[in-house]
């Protein structure tokens, strides 16, 4: 795959965002940052989509936080081959936190299919250090070793200023378990961890934190075939860190393959909802989102959390999904295009209804002192799917509107 389309002056990246098994809520941060940049051609891909060739229609694949082991297992060897083909063919892989660990060399089962980048992580140890805070989030087993997380929250990052990314600058970005890395070729390092901030929470002794992070790579850019991988230890896509967001977007645009001008006409089989159908759809989705967020807000007041796979999920994460959709409802209510195909509108309403049922079941479980892990596991899976479907419809309409308005 030499080229992903004809060369034009307009570069509208077709971005795939991984929402499948193992993905936590942080992929929604990518969504927000891309939307702010005006990138509306967003596609939401599960492990099955990738295995079935879903990467053939995108220029970029963004994989954010979550459970790296689960992601690797879900994608499997076929997914790894698809990903390798995508990158070597010119695609850009954006990995953040768990997404950054995924393509690093590893001998561990499932991860060993993704040995794309010869970088090492500096937070791997045979002997687990003493944890000072957040014991449940502090470390993960890694075969006979452990991955430990030295700090959380905002850390200081300094870019190396290597061309073409301009001069060296310093800003902050949040670290929630992402890797500090080393790599032989210094030209691959786009940014390093240079300091802590007042908001940094130390999970281990400060000296060890310093040794683990400072001076090591926070961002790596690696070429692979015709494409690239950008690996971010911290969440540069976190919407509260605009300088980090801008860096990420600029880096992405630099290594972006050329692409086609999107069509002004809706794709075949696509219908634009209007009249009572549109009104009913908005009301039905809004009703269930409201029902869900009301219960979810109440759940945040109780000390409940679950370990799903190797990740800890607090109740507060439920509303991150719901608010991401809720804040976009207004745009739909104000007249945004709603383009659907194949009964997507009914599926979305049903999915939203199931989300409400699951959240209410968790509340009842808590009240009755019943274990809610299975419901919570199903809920987060459902939240990922529902959010992806909602956003697929939302961004399809937004892209259609933007193309119509700008006649690009």
């Amino acid at each position: 795959m030499e080229s992903r389309g004809r060369k034009t002056d307009f570069r509208i990246p077709r971005i795939g965002i991984y929402t499948g098994k193992g993905a936590s809520h942080s992929w929604l941060w990518f969504v927000e940052v891309f939307e702010r940049q005006g990138f509306y051609n967003l596609n939401f891909l599960t492990e099955m989509d990738i295995v079935k060739g879903g990467l053939e229609t995108v220029d970029v694949l963004a994989v954010s936080g979550g459970d790296t082991f689960s992601i690797a297992e879900a994608l499997g060897p076929v997914g790894a081959i698809r990903l390798e083909k995508f990158i070597t063919g010119g695609g850009l892989y954006l990995g953040s936190c768990a997404g950054a660990y995924l393509p690093l060399n590893s001998s561990k089962e499932h991860l060993n299919h993704f040995n794309f980048v010869p970088a090492k992580i500096t937070n791997l140890t045979k002997t687990l250090p003493e944890s000072h805070h957040m014991k449940d989030k502090f470390s993960t087993c890694y075969g006979c070793s452990f991955i430990y997380h030295a700090v959380r929250e905002a850390v200081e990052i300094t870019t190396t200023g290597l061309p073409p990314f301009g001069e060296s600058t310093t800003f902050t970005a949040p670290l929630y378990g992402g890797p500090p890395m080393t790599i032989t070729d210094p030209a691959s390092v786009l940014a390093t961890y240079t300091n802590f901030t007042q908001k940094t929470l130390f999970l281990v002794d400060r000296k060890l934190a310093k040794k683990t992070l400072l001076g090591n790579a926070a961002v790596i850019r690696e070429k692979m075939g015709h494409g690239h991988l950008h690996l971010y230890g911290p969440h540069f896509e976190h919407p509260h860190f605009p300088k980090a967001n801008l860096f990420l977007a600029n880096a992405m645009m630099h290594d972006l393959p050329q692409e086609n001008i999107p069509s002004e006409k809706p794709e075949e089989g696509m219908a634009i909802l209007s009249g009572p159908e549109r009104k009913g759809f908005i009301r039905d989705v809004k009703r269930e989102l409201s029902n869900s967020r009301i219960v979810a807000a109440g759940l945040e007041m109780i000390p409940l959390k679950w370990t799903i796979g190797s990740k800890v999920y607090e109740t507060g994460k439920i509303r991150v999904f719901l608010e991401a959709l809720w804040q976009r409802m207004r745009s739909l209510e104000r007249g945004g295009y709603i383009l659907v195909r194949g009964g997507e509108e009914d599926r979305l309403v049903q999915a939203a209804l199931h989300v409400t049922e699951n959240i209410r079941q968790i509340k009842k479980g808590w009240d009755r002192k019943i274990d809610t892990l299975a419901t919570a596991t199903a809920l987060f899976n459902l939240l990922n799917k529902t959010s992806a479907l909602f956003l697929e419809i939302y961004f399809r309409g937004k892209l259609f509107h933007s193309i119509r308005e700008n006649r690009i």
């Binding site: 009301r283 409201s290 029902n291 009301i294 807000a297 209410r360 009842k364």
Partner: protein
């Protein structure tokens, strides 16, 4: 209407199950300000349907001290007048944030229903499973089904279902200020309850100035000794009634204020648990939240202990009958045994003196002359959304100050002349 509003009026026809929505026109707000000014206007607009109208004041849910009030307007089955009942505790605030500024309920449902009002969505849901339940069981049921303990429930018990003149629309588990028999109207409409929860936001036109002014008001209020007292006993004293402190003291567990109200006018008494308990009680029903001064005073005067008064008022709340009316009728019949009084609930009938003669609930009037000044102050509270007892205590909250705040919040100009006209309309 851009500021301090959701810009939405719902018209609900329980007969046809049609729900239509109108925008809240800025001209209407300029003309009627809000709260009872607009609920009365909407009642008149739909008068042929004899609706129940709910709404919130222009300042309800804001940082203005005491901005807790919702308003329910309808023709009272007790007085035959278009009357207004204050919705306190957190009900007014939740209504304000529910995504609807006003709700007009007309028609009668052919079978029991309840309204679920949340974030700009209004659903008419089946209530057959709720019909026959007391207000406590109904509130528990709704909160459990919907999964949220902050839902505010305006509902009726068996009194309203059975068409009692004395039926009250309660607020969650507690007695409301409904002395107008609005519970009977709910029953006639087959409307068991309204469940309200809002997670909306209010836009303020001049937020910094608005907040600064509110902060200044709070500062001034804090220095006023009259507003430093807490509890229903202190509120009674402030309204001119005897201080009930000694009477309630041995049972008092805690005081509770309505939303953003500096003075707590409600007191939780433990009738079946040690009031000194500082941890969560394991007794299913340890006591009762006293929200209404008048029946408490009447029961005390009839010679009942505070514990028995609490027990009677609890069963009144569950049954959905006006405690003030029950106290009055019990005294007339010489009844003092709580169990005996409860047995007589189905037989109690109006009219009762405790309904009062005003179009405003006399809930905030005990011991005071309900003259022109009282009615004007009540009208201001009901129009702007201020706690009616609190507004009588807080002399710092002048009409000019409140209208200034309304102006800052909405980018509109409200004059005393407009307020006079709106009050005149309501009282006409």
């Amino acid at each position: 209407m851009e500021y301090l509003a959701s810009d939405k009026i719902a018209i609900v026809d329980l007969g046809s199950r049609d729900i239509t929505e109108d925008e809240l026109d800025e001209d209407l707000v300029l003309d009627k300000i809000g709260g009872a000014g607009i609920t009365k206007h909407l009642y008149d607009q739909y008068a042929s349907d004899d609706p129940i109208v709910l709404g919130s004041g222009l300042l309800t849910g804001t940082l203005v001290p005491g901005a807790s009030l919702g308003i329910m307007t309808a023709k009272s089955p007790s007085t035959g007048k278009i009357s207004h009942v204050p919705l306190n505790l957190d009900a007014g605030m939740e209504l304000k944030y529910s995504g609807f500024d006003y709700i007009v309920i007309k028609g009668n449902a052919d079978k029991p229903v309840y309204l679920w009002i949340h974030d700009g969505i209004l659903d008419i849901n089946d209530a057959e499973a709720l019909w026959g339940k007391d207000t406590w069981a109904a509130t528990d049921h709704i909160r459990s089904e919907m999964g949220d303990d902050l839902i505010q429930v305006l509902g009726i018990g068996q009194a309203g279902e059975n068409g009692s003149d004395l039926a009250q629309v309660g607020i969650n588990y507690w007695q409301s200020a409904d002395r107008m028999g609005f519970g009977k109207l709910f029953g006639e409409k087959n409307l068991k309850l309204m469940a309200i929860r809002g997670m909306g936001l209010l836009e303020i036109s001049e937020p910094e100035d608005f907040i600064d002014d509110c902060a200044e008001l709070i500062k001034t209020i804090r220095t006023d000794p009259a507003t430093g007292k807490q509890g229903i006993a202190a509120a009674a004293a402030a309204l001119g009634e005897e201080d009930l402190g000694d009477y309630l003291g041995p049972l008092t567990h805690r005081h509770m204020a309505c939303f953003n109200t500096p003075v707590a006018t409600n007191t939780f008494v433990f009738t079946d648990e040690d009031p000194a308990l500082l941890k969560e009680s394991t007794v299913p029903e340890p006591g009762f939240l006293l929200t209404d001064i008048s029946p408490l005073v009447a029961l005390k005067k009839a010679g009942l202990s505070a514990k028995d008064a609490g027990i009677i008022l609890k069963v009144c709340a569950k049954y959905g009958i006006d405690g003030a009316a029950v106290a009055e009728l019990s005294a007339k019949s010489g009844l003092t045994d709580p169990a005996e009084i409860e047995k007589r609930f189905p037989d109690f009938k109006g009219p009762v003196e405790s309904t009062g003669k005003s179009i405003f609930s006399p809930w905030a009037a005990f011991g005071k002359d309900m003259g022109e000044n009282w009615e004007r102050r009540q009208a201001v509270a009901y129009i702007l959304g201020l706690h009616p007892i609190w507004l009588q205590m807080a002399t710092e909250l002048t009409e000019e100050k409140l209208l200034d705040l309304a102006g800052l919040g909405t980018e509109m100009e409200f004059t005393l002349d407009t307020l006079d006209e709106v009050i005149g309309d309501i009282l006409a």
